[in-house]
Symmetry: C4
Subunit: 289 residues, 4 copies
Amino acid sequence: MNGSEARIGSKHSKILGDATGHFLAGSFILILGLWWSTKSILKYICKQQKRSSSLITPKFFSRAEILEGIVISVMALIGIIGLFSRFGKIKTLPPEHIQLAKILHWQHVTMYTVLIMLGVTKVLCFTISSLPMSLIKLMASNAFFVEAFIFYNHPRSNALLDKFLHHQLNLGAFLTGLAAFIEFLLTKNNVVLELLTSSFAMLQGACFLQIGFVLYPTNIEHAWDLNDPNNSMIFSTLFGAYYASIYVIIGVNYALVSWFIKLKLSKPCPSEIQSLKNYEQHEDSEDDM
Amino acid sequence: MNGSEARIGSKHSKILGDATGHFLAGSFILILGLWWSTKSILKYICKQQKRSSSLITPKFFSRAEILEGIVISVMALIGIIGLFSRFGKIKTLPPEHIQLAKILHWQHVTMYTVLIMLGVTKVLCFTISSLPMSLIKLMASNAFFVEAFIFYNHPRSNALLDKFLHHQLNLGAFLTGLAAFIEFLLTKNNVVLELLTSSFAMLQGACFLQIGFVLYPTNIEHAWDLNDPNNSMIFSTLFGAYYASIYVIIGVNYALVSWFIKLKLSKPCPSEIQSLKNYEQHEDSEDDM
Amino acid sequence: MNGSEARIGSKHSKILGDATGHFLAGSFILILGLWWSTKSILKYICKQQKRSSSLITPKFFSRAEILEGIVISVMALIGIIGLFSRFGKIKTLPPEHIQLAKILHWQHVTMYTVLIMLGVTKVLCFTISSLPMSLIKLMASNAFFVEAFIFYNHPRSNALLDKFLHHQLNLGAFLTGLAAFIEFLLTKNNVVLELLTSSFAMLQGACFLQIGFVLYPTNIEHAWDLNDPNNSMIFSTLFGAYYASIYVIIGVNYALVSWFIKLKLSKPCPSEIQSLKNYEQHEDSEDDM
Amino acid sequence: MNGSEARIGSKHSKILGDATGHFLAGSFILILGLWWSTKSILKYICKQQKRSSSLITPKFFSRAEILEGIVISVMALIGIIGLFSRFGKIKTLPPEHIQLAKILHWQHVTMYTVLIMLGVTKVLCFTISSLPMSLIKLMASNAFFVEAFIFYNHPRSNALLDKFLHHQLNLGAFLTGLAAFIEFLLTKNNVVLELLTSSFAMLQGACFLQIGFVLYPTNIEHAWDLNDPNNSMIFSTLFGAYYASIYVIIGVNYALVSWFIKLKLSKPCPSEIQSLKNYEQHEDSEDDM
């Protein structure tokens, strides 16, 4: 087996597993993780400083969650539509690749479906008050666990680097699911745990982008040798480096949000503090059930 | 090794591991999971809406639990009787299959025995008030862990798909046991966690049915090729799809139960609220011990 | 590789790893597990029924714990003395076995040392009131984890059954350590969790005895074929059967203790209830630290 | 493959992975673990005995934490500077080792960077009061998990003992990370859990020192045979023995600190008790957020 075989592997992937797909999915999850971290920091600082304003109210958070649910659902739906729009092209492939391409197609459809379910759950839980809030965290955990499970059984070429990078992605998805599941179990809001979940989501997004750059290079001449064992060690180092960078990003984000709150928001009037407290009690009482 | 060998593998399974056995076990666990989810939803809505009636009282739940325990025990007993009624036929097998058939026999007897123990524990805990309630959850967890352990050491043919489908079943049983164990550890009733356990039980039931359909096909001509690696990827996708469908089923179930409660039940009279509260306190005090 | 090689494997074990050693260790852990379950049940029923007497007082439990610590230490010390009394014989072995025998010797010494540390910790924590009680559970967890780690790196013959039975023992030790660690983490006394730990300890004891019977048979003619894969499936079934039996034993134990308490103990006088409460508060306050 | 190849393996390591590096890292982590255990014991005894003095005040602990953070950062920075000072020498290596040496270089830089982040987080959390305290524990957990991940993907020779000793180090790092993560999840201060984390840190330090002694021996003639399977069993026994010794060290440490406190500190005046309480409440309220 040599590099040329791995290229063949990347050739048949042009249908579904091309660079564009990985870039889109990666960017989306990266931005989602960044938004989650921003949301958690915002909530934490608002609670701690007991500041509020006409902008950042409990209602604002509720609406933001509903909007987030809708965006996740729509993005995943666009993904599914994109997949089906390319479904016809599968028949034009060489016969030995048709079945594999179909499997890939349905695997991606399943992953997007679970994401849609997460989005819909989010919208439902924030509109129907009788539903338990912790359902959202369970669905988030499920979505990433199902993703990790499917990536574990992903059709892959035999190239060493292809396997290694997908294992990293798999690890990223599993860790995101695990952190979301721990959040679900603990029920009490814990800002650091929420940041952990969002950091793993960003890590996973970075892995997606990495796969896009490494396995589907635009410039074939500077492409990585997919079967050099040293490369897998380089990428394991990068994995650690990404994770460290993500913490720096979250730190900078914390500083920015903190500065923004101090700049813009005045001390809340008593009625707003009251509504904030009610909101918290509302959340807690739902957690207790 | 080829497909024909796998058929031989399925031939010797006609004694104990035939399609009927897998269908029965699968249907039972599927229905059990569905009942568990219905019970949890019913309890949750009753608690939340503080509604009660002459039908849905704390006593009703107690009796339902006892009935459930009896049904589990009886079903498992029927399974054991069925196994022993076929035990005589083992001697008529070709000599090289006799030992394997005996091992299979005793493995299934062990699994059913642990299920009977779960049923008996349920009945005992709801009739003898001094026993701790959390024992039921531990026994449920044990029953599924023992099942997972035995499936892990199950005699299997070398066919790729046979192994893969049993690994999925194994995963389903392990996850059910794990979710039940987490329920046991947390002690506080958490509806979403209960739904998680029941969803894994349903997933496990679906895996049982899948094995029945795939490994013991009624129409040999349309049978799956048990050694095609692509098939294992197809079934991993289906595994994710089942899990997503189960959540849709639970969602529909929630809507139905919610609608049923709103339709049938009036606001409870004060005395019933009191008895409901007593019941909860009773449960909590037992958990604290 | 055939059966005769496995016999050679058992021959060199005559120094340290003979049947007697496994029987002694197995019986000790089995009795320890049984005592732990009795102790937990006794405590639970006394707390629940708020009964006490001149016999079963908080002081009785304290003394029982100290006695248990001394017994564990002395038993482990006897084990170490037994090992060193045989240490001289190692030189009489064929040269190729000397190093292996020395390794086995030191591995067993390490395991016994950790057990002594558990015993000493128990005595210290119940005599010096300033030490945290949860230290005992951590040391119990450590003792079994170290045992599991060392068994994982145990010198073994290549016989299939030798490996499989030691893996079961390994699993038993790991599960005991895990249950003890969960007990340590939860800090609150939970009778069912304590029973789980003691059930795993008994399971581990049963595995020790099994190894004694299977790998070092008294009657060579009826010895198990150590390389038959079917045998490993038989023993996995037995593992499940042992575990089920242990629950029956614990159940019978519960009934006996419950009957004994009802028969012997009268309702406690108020002062005794008070001292019982003090004892509990004492325990709780120590847990909180 | 034989011993001489393993020597070659250790030859190319002279650039970065030499004995000095392992001794420095090992000693640092060993001392860090010892300091952590001393700090935990000191806090525990002060809280329990409600003693305080002009020396051991809440302020003292705050300053000690900040100092610890600075020391960790500076030590890791020295490590990075040391690595870059040797970076130039890589070009003088034989061409086949240059890439491997570069990978090793960057892997170590990543590990030190994560340690710096832990130190900086510690300083920030104890100077900026609005930051959540649990962030420190998460960063400690992260630092060790990243270390374990990178060690898992470390370039290694094929020598059996090289692999085994690095797996032990890996296990030590993973366990330290896991214990720190459990500390993070439980939020409440638990002295025994803190001692567990510090014991694993010391274990990891011992593994570092062991690698320094075994893989880079000063006296080649008495060097270990890196490919003898028996040696791996010897080191697994030593691993258990180290762990047992560490508990003895912690026990002695406890006795010494306890004796020191009794000797030096008088009963605190009421105002100091008050400030101690305020400090605890401050910590608790931060945990709740």
